[in-house]
């Protein structure tokens, strides 16, 4: 009986497990997770769960996979020669097939020693720690105004907690969404009472055994009890350093979805040559990608591959607005504002040369399916920019 190991018991890992069962795998499925939890939903951690709403985080379907759950002990190594996942002092796990879905970890502040009151946000325990810390917080500094930092700032303002949001770039979300959308997000933050410091970064933290003051690069000292570090994430690949797998800003998988024979990778940790980008390697940290690539990884391992050319999509809740996207967005593309209303609704297009590759909106969600279809259709037609032909 063949044994399949899935390292990473999150959304991508769960979807891989479900797809293995759907395709008829009736051997053992072993789920190896660093956290002590079965798969759960992360998006609410910076939104409604952070503000204390009663939210069911459980991802349905875990029981039906009839998997063996090895939780609370991270994988520490991979020996492909003998096909074993190492787990520190715990027993290694032998496998016939493997899916790597270890996700990402939050980046920390360089050169700043951790101390009580400094919190990164990635997992359930982080949000629980932040919720506890908020009970006695008179001001919170959030370092980084990306997706997580911006959502945390918005959630804290909903609780009426004073927030200073420190962003090294010229506007929030500039790299993923560009200057125009970043400026709109900056306006949103200010309109909701956020003390927004752009072009600044956190240089040091001080206090008597806990966070009391946050020092910025320009010498500004901000009295605060909590510092949330939201400076993005990095792929969880340290355990694969000696595995022989190709690591290039993530676990690299080929056109066939595989990183090595019988070994696939999926979700936040995986990068792959995207057909819509002429085969350029990309890594996508969005929810839907973990669902789709998790399933795809299972099919890849079992040799059922049909190419993987998803149109990425994200959402971000900010105050009474929700930003949503389809396709490829960011500073690398030409941005044109299709519409922008005084009430904060907008629609923005992203182009690569004259080809529309993405769109972001607040308040015009019904425009997105049309954009998505247009972007997806480019996979089925010869790509003028790159000369590739989709299948």
């Amino acid at each position: 009986m063949e044994r399949i190991a899935i390292v990473g018991a999150g959304l991508a890992g769960l979807n891989a497990a479900q797809e293995f069962r759907r395709l008829g795998h009736d051997g053992e499925l072993v789920m190896i997770g660093a956290e002590p939890y079965r798969p759960y939903r992360r998006p609410p951690l910076s939104k409604e769960y952070l503000v204390g709403k009663d939210v069911d985080l459980e991802l349905p379907g875990a029981d039906e996979t009839a998997a063996t759950w090895l939780l609370g002990q991270p994988a520490t190594g991979l020996d492909l020669a003998v096909r074993r996942v190492l787990r520190g002092p715990a027993d290694p796990v032998h496998f016939d097939h493997l899916v790597i879905a270890t996700g990402v970890r939050a980046r920390t502040l360089p050169e700043v020693r951790p101390m009580p009151g400094m919190i990164t946000l990635r997992g359930l325990n982080d949000t629980l720690a932040l919720r506890t810390a908020l009970d006695r917080a008179s001001r919170v500094v959030v370092a980084g105004a990306g997706f997580v930092g911006s959502e945390v700032a918005a959630s804290l303002r909903a609780l009426d907690v004073p927030v200073t949001l420190v962003e090294p770039d010229a506007v929030p979300l500039r790299r993923p969404l560009g200057d125009q959308v970043g400026a709109l997000v900056a306006d949103l933050h200010r309109a909701h009472g956020v003390d927004l410091r752009l072009g600044r970064w956190v240089k040091a933290v001080s206090g008597a055994g806990k966070v009391e003051r946050v020092l910025l690069d320009d010498g500004t000292v901000i009295p605060a009890d909590v510092l949330v570090v939201a400076l993005g994430a990095q792929p969880e690949v340290e355990w694969l350093r000696d595995s022989g797998l190709l690591l290039d800003g993530g676990v690299v998988v080929g056109d066939d979805g595989l990183a090595a024979a019988g070994v696939a990778a999926a979700g936040d940790v995986a990068c792959w040559p995207h057909p819509l980008l002429g085969g350029r390697l990309i890594r996508v940290e969005h929810y839907t990608n973990a669902v789709e690539q998790g399933s795809y990884a299972a099919r890849a391992v079992l040799g059922v591959t049909e190419g993987f050319a998803p149109v990425p999509s994200f959402w971000c809740h900010l105050y009474d607005r929700r930003l949503q996207s389809v396709g490829f967005t960011g500073t690398g593309y030409d941005v044109s504002v299709v519409s922008s209303q005084p009430d904060g609704r907008f629609l923005v297009e992203y182009r690569d040369a004259d080809r529309v590759v993405g769109a972001v909106t607040a308040g015009h969600i019904r425009e997105l399916p049309r954009y998505r279809a247009m972007i997806a259709a480019q996979y089925a037609t010869p790509n003028r920019l790159t000369g590739i032909t989709g299948s």
């Binding site: 998006p43 999509s313 959402w315 949503q324 015009h364 969600i365 019904r366 997105l368 399916p369 998505r372």
Partner: protein, 63 residues
């Protein structure tokens, strides 16, 4: 087949519209509307919509 969306849970992330545009769509107010009795030939697309819904608001009822 029969489809039900829990509209108190739905947050209009529109992932179902992407997965199964013949079943789910958005009206002029960005509210979700859907065909509760789609043809069986659309089952794979609806199953994909169920999987990608981030708030798990979509249910296929019966068999």
């Amino acid at each position: 087949m029969r489809v039900r969306v829990d509209m108190t849970t739905c947050e209009t992330h529109a992932q179902c519209v992407f997965a199964a545009p013949d079943v789910f769509s958005l009206d002029d107010n960005d509210e979700l509307v859907y065909d509760a009795n789609p043809d069986d030939s659309l089952r794979a697309a609806v199953e994909q919509a169920v999987k990608t819904c981030p708030v798990h608001a979509i249910f296929i009822e019966g068999t």
